[in-house]
């Protein structure tokens, strides 16, 4: 896995934000919307490159900043998709904006999903709830490429209406991706499996030594997935987790995102389980 992947032009101040306009808003699950952002400056737009798994700092003047994964296809150049749940002052303010409104963008920051390193392997994407937002770009990359042997998406949510990007599953399946969903609090209409996403994992691992797992969700869910995967024979180096921590700067200066010796903004958010396994087992690190 590569070390520090610099995002914006490296000579630019890390506090430089680029003005963007909201070009589209798609309602997703309850309280969750996807915002398509277009950088206003043509040069900045042309120079912007990201890889699946990285995030942007979205800024609303006078309100604040929030770290949000880029969810669109990295090959797309026009707009950048950000799927956001309204849970705090910045994301609540974002939820009040409409198409054409202004948002500022710093980024991209952080480490990518190892989509370039999965040739010939079975890739299992395990997502809890909104965690899938950080993996959508990886899914689109893997669907477009033919390098890996298989792609499986295991997505769990509390309730059926919490399953993210449900309208896209048919398209992903058409691209050869095995998409499986599970909920633990189904309503009347649900006919799929009931339980936790971890329940889907063991049967999905067919060839452990040739399996790469990309997991994103709440910490306890990721620990469960990582433990189940390694118990199932997948190497701790082949299980990748995307962590979420408090962030203000995104460039390893503010210290808020520290997890043991790791700066999640710079050394993560995507990290192999091996580098965090010991820390994840200890409460409140």
């Amino acid at each position: 896995m590569s070390g520090h992947l610099s995002g914006p032009a490296s000579r630019e101040s890390p506090w430089r934000s680029h003005a963007a306009r909201i070009r589209g808003i798609t309602p997703e699950t309850p309280g969750v919307r996807t915002y398509e952002l277009e950088l206003e400056d043509v040069l900045a737009r042309d120079q912007y490159r990201f890889v699946a798994g990285q995030f942007n700092m979205l800024y609303l003047p006078g309100i604040g900043e929030a770290a949000i994964s880029v969810s669109s296809d990295p090959a797309g150049r026009k707009t950048l998709a950000h799927t956001v749940r309204a849970v705090g002052n910045v994301t609540d303010a974002l939820a009040r904006l409409g198409v054409g409104d202004q948002v500022f963008v710093r980024g991209p920051f952080g480490t990518p999903w190892p989509v370039a390193e999965v040739a010939g392997r079975d890739v299992i994407i395990v997502a809890g709830g909104l965690g899938l937002a950080s993996q959508r770009a990886a899914i689109l990359c893997l669907a477009a490429g033919r390098a890996c042997r298989s792609v499986t998406v295991l997505h769990g949510a509390r309730q059926p209406e919490g399953l993210l990007y449900a309208r896209e599953y048919d398209g992903w399946r058409a691209a050869g991706i095995d998409v499986r969903t599970i909920v633990n609090d189904p309503g009347g209409a649900w006919s799929g499996p009931i339980g936790l996403v971890t329940d889907l994992l063991a049967p999905a691992i067919r060839d452990p030594s040739a399996t790469t797992i990309l997991c994103c969700g709440p910490d306890p869910m990721m620990v469960g997935v990582a433990e189940a995967a390694t118990t199932g024979g997948v190497a701790a180096d082949d299980v990748f987790l995307s962590l979420e921590r408090n962030m203000a700067c995104a460039v390893a200066h503010c210290g808020l995102c520290q997890f043991g010796p790791l700066f999640i903004c710079r050394d993560g958010p995507v990290l192999p389980y091996r580098r965090m396994a010991a820390l994840l087992r200890i409460p409140q690190v």
């Binding site: 705090g88 202004q102 808020l256 710079r266």
Partner: protein, 404 residues
């Protein structure tokens, strides 16, 4: 009167009038000059116009949760050690605007960054202060991203160091390899000998400033071999004295720290019962992180004017002892004081080594002195070391075992 500037590495002799000349030259060459002064019962660093403002004859007595100034006619100009301020207050200020946005006709735009920093000269910088500066350089300049504001101030920083003649009980620079001798990294370094000073030139800029001061008189160019040897002997004697210090009943315990294998010691004892024990004393007040010369955590606040059309993004010091530090989705990852104390101490002495290839501690002792309940890092680490083997917790965790 020399016609060329003194050489880097050369020693010269000056009295208080000569020191005043150095201060005058610094002001005249566009520097803001700050140095140690007595204020409200402590020695703080603030704007300095003249040698008369320096804390001549003042000594600081320091211990866990204790700081007292005592006047001693026999004490020199710089026989105090470090107070609550450090270079951090100037290089990484407690509040700073890191970006500004203005709104016009309903659209926001980011304002250009501020102009270059005003040159700053700091008088009285100690070995531990220079070591702390080198640590902060790694954080803000050497970790992949450059903090432009820090860089601008750093490039315009002039450092007049002082070689300590005395250590407080809380000083343990000798354990951390950061002192007591000052350097490298100074422009000029003063050593008090009797009533005068020797001055070592540490850089070309130092040489230019000293040359300017020499032109005003009161500085004797060059030092005899004996004076140079006497100068070097000051730090050697203090270092030897610090290594030889032993506890004396009724006096503050002289601090030292066994740093052998400290990273692994701490990282393999994250569930040691001592974290819970120290948490019963720790007030989570954040004092240690505020006075620490290397603590770099910060958060950003939005500061709008009354019109709402101008917003400054203000970076403020943050502390891992505050619940906000590790807050996500409305709750703190480290809700227990034990977890927050553990974060601070393990980051400073262990995680820092992974992150920056250096300890985050310089042994300045400020965190011990300014802790309102006198928690002492050297004592906490020693307690973990003593009981690390066979003293591992059986089923106890510092947080009661409840994750996030």
């Amino acid at each position: 009167m020399p016609t060329s500037p003194p050489a880097v590495g050369s020693f010269h002799r000056l009295d208080r009038t000569g020191l005043q000349s150095v201060i005058d030259v610094l002001w005249r060459t566009g520097h803001r000059v700050v140095g140690p002064q007595v204020s409200d019962g402590a020695i703080v660093i603030r704007d300095l116009r003249g040698v008369a403002e320096l804390p001549s004859g003042w000594l600081d007595e320091q211990d866990g949760g204790m700081y007292r100034l005592r006047h001693d006619p026999a004490a020199g100009t710089f026989d105090h050690v470090v107070g609550p301020h450090s270079l951090k207050n100037f290089l990484f200020p407690a509040r700073e605007t890191i970006a500004s946005f203005v709104q016009a006709s309903g659209l926001w735009s980011q304002s250009p960054p501020p102009a270059a920093a005003v040159p700053l000269a700091v008088l009285g910088v100690r070995g531990c202060d220079l070591a702390a500066l080198a640590v902060q350089d790694r954080v803000f300049l050497g970790s992949g991203w450059v903090d432009e504001a820090y860089k601008s101030r750093r490039e315009r920083l002039f450092l007049v160091a002082v070689n300590c003649r005395r250590a407080a009980a809380t000083c343990f620079c000798h354990s951390m390899g950061s002192g007591p001798a000052a350097g490298p990294g100074f422009d000029l370094a003063l050593t008090e000998l009797d009533a005068d000073f020797t001055c070592e030139v540490g850089s070309d800029r130092g040489a230019a400033v000293l040359a300017g001061a020499m032109a005003m008189g009161a500085i004797i160019p060059g030092c005899s071999m004996e004076e140079v040897e006497k100068t070097r002997g000051v730090s050697r004697a203090l270092a030897a004295g610090m290594h030889a210090r032993r506890p004396v009943h009724g006096e503050p315990r002289p601090r030292s720290l066994d740093t052998h294998g400290i990273r692994d010691l701490l990282m393999t004892n994250l569930e040691h019962p001592r974290w819970e024990e120290v948490a019963t004393r720790c007030l989570s007040c954040t004092n240690c992180t505020l006075v620490c010369p290397t603590c770099f955590c910060s958060s950003v606040q939005e500061v709008a004017d009354l019109s709402g059309d101008h917003v400054d993004r203000e970076r403020q010091w943050a502390s891992c002892f505050s619940l906000d530090h590790a807050r996500i989705h409305g709750h703190s990852v480290r809700s227990a004081t034990a977890a927050r104390y553990r974060q601070w101490l393990t980051h400073k002495f262990a995680g820092w080594i992974d992150q920056f290839d250096t300890s985050g501690c310089t042994g300045c002792g400020r965190c011990i002195t300014w802790c309102p309940v006198g928690i002492d890092v050297t004592e906490e680490i020693a307690a973990i070391r003593t009981t690390a083997d066979g003293g591992s917790p059986s089923g106890t965790s510092p947080t009661g075992g409840t994750a996030s």
